[in-house]
């Protein structure tokens, strides 16, 4: 498979493009270490979600259970906030969540919706972790975008009726 070029990352949001660049700059084994670092840096759940897994969405595509919560703030930009919960025994799943958190948290709803669906494959991880395992990250991104879309629409509808 040919190495990706900078133009392959041109349509990614800035923080995500930088991460993709970091991954491509290192060897396969080092990519795993980078993923491990991201898994360690994944923020803990804020108090309002602790013990509230029923308020979060379960991502079934992940091999290990991962729970996701998406908030869209009622501001002009419709700022997106992401929250993830995955056990320490699932570092790969946590690492994928770490990439999405670092790459997408704090962006506008529009920016998140514009993220290409194949973004998970832009980090050169498929060979390092095997393509089958990438499904988890594809599932997370799809669910994040779906929730952002639903929540933005709900906010717009509420704004119009007010």
């Amino acid at each position: 498979m040919p190495e990706q070029t900078d133009s392959d990352r041109a349509d990614l949001p800035e923080a995500m493009a930088e991460l993709a660049e970091d991954f491509h700059a290192v060897s396969q084994p080092e990519r795993l270490q980078l993923l491990l670092e991201l898994s360690r840096e994944l923020p803990a759940l804020p108090e309002r979600y602790v013990g509230q897994l029923d308020k979060m969405e379960r991502v079934d595509e992940c091999q290990s259970p991962l729970f996701l919560a998406v908030e869209v703030e009622d501001d002009a930009d419709r700022t997106v906030r992401l929250f993830f919960d995955a056990p320490a025994e699932a570092p790969t799943t946590r690492g994928f969540a770490g990439i999405l958190h670092e790459g997408l948290d704090g962006l506008t709803a529009r920016q998140v919706l514009d993220v290409p669906d194949d973004a998970p494959y832009r980090f050169g991880l498929a060979e390092a972790v095997s393509p089958l395992r990438m499904r988890g990250m594809v599932g997370m991104l799809g669910r994040i975008k779906r929730q952002v879309r639903l929540r933005s629409e709900a906010l717009s509808a509420a704004g119009e009726s007010a």
């Binding site: 491990l36 091999q63 025994e89 570092p91 790969t92 690492g95 972790v129 089958l132 779906r146």
Partner: protein
């Protein structure tokens, strides 16, 4: 080893955490960690253990199949494993992937391969040492041995021939019954059809394991598979799940703990059967 392990049909296939702690430094023992999660080993592992990944080491990158003899020899040799080495495997998820790896080593006829009873979780729970230090290995020559799929592996055609004979579906009850669990926008992935292979008995793999991930005692296992399910150690049995990993666990139980003579793991499992045109499905 222990009273519990000595009661099994092939006690030499299982080691306790105590045994492992005593034999970690043995020259003729190589310890492998095989997990579902490819990074778990890197977060900390049993001292001296090497990583063996089911995707990147044991599966062919192109064809849906296991690696061939040359690649297998390389995977073993670079871990310092010779044909006569005692290989002990442990992993996460009650040893699913460890059992899967052991089964693949069996395809290549590696004679002395054992599981750590309770796997990674038990070692951790007992507060034993973990390290992130990857041991340095002096590579050895492992002979190129061709895989022999005939004894312990079933292909789809074998399963079609086997219909009407004992078969164990080790998936969860929901997968067995064919109920779909999906939400709007997310059609069930993995298989076009839900259900099970006609005549298969539903015995979820986890019934063979205790809460701490160790195997149930021989007496308890006989109660489940012999008394309740009516299987006999002389039966010709096929086990399957979704991709063949959970059924490796059951294959290990039937073959090594209960001494069944003919058990084949159908690794194509539901991701093949549930997508195949024209094969019979029962719900």
């Amino acid at each position: 080893m222990s009273e519990k392990i000595d009661a099994y049909a092939h006690p030499e296939r299982l080691v306790t955490t105590d045994w492992l702690a005593e034999h970690l430094a043995d020259d003729d023992v190589v310890l492998l960690e095989s997990d579902e999660d490819v990074l778990l080993y890197d977060t900390g592992h049993i001292p001296g253990a090497l990583k063996l990944d089911w995707h990147t080491d044991l599966n062919d990158p192109l064809t849906r199949d296991y690696v061939g003899g040359e690649r297998f020899a390389q995977v073993m040799g670079e871990r310092g494993i010779g044909r006569g080495t005692t290989v002990v495997i442990y992993g996460d998820k009650s040893n699913w992937w460890a059992a899967y790896a052991l089964w693949v080593l069996t395809l290549f006829g590696h004679e002395d391969v054992r599981l750590l009873d309770g796997g990674r979780a038990k070692w951790v729970e007992e507060g034993r040492e973990l390290t992130t230090e990857v041991p340095e290995v002096t590579p050895v020559d492992y002979p190129v041995v061709e895989r022999d799929d005939s004894a312990v592996r079933a292909f789809k055609a074998d399963v079609l021939d086997h219909l009407g004979q004992p078969m164990v579906d080790v998936r969860s009850p929901g997968e067995f019954s064919g109920e779909l669990l999906h939400m709007p926008d997310y059609p069930q992935e993995g298989a076009m059809r839900g259900g099970h292979i006609p005549g298969a008995k539903s015995v979820p793999w986890a019934r063979a394991a205790n809460e701490d991930g160790t195997f149930r005692s021989r007496e308890e296992l006989e109660q489940i598979y012999l008394t309740e399910q009516g299987l006999d150690p002389s039966d010709d049995v096929v086990a399957y799940c979704r991709i063949g990993e959970r059924s490796s666990h059951t294959w290990f139980v039937l073959t090594h703990l209960l001494g069944f003579g003919t058990v084949r793991n159908y690794d194509g499992s539901w991701t093949e059967w549930g997508n195949s045109v024209g094969v019979p499905v029962e719900r």
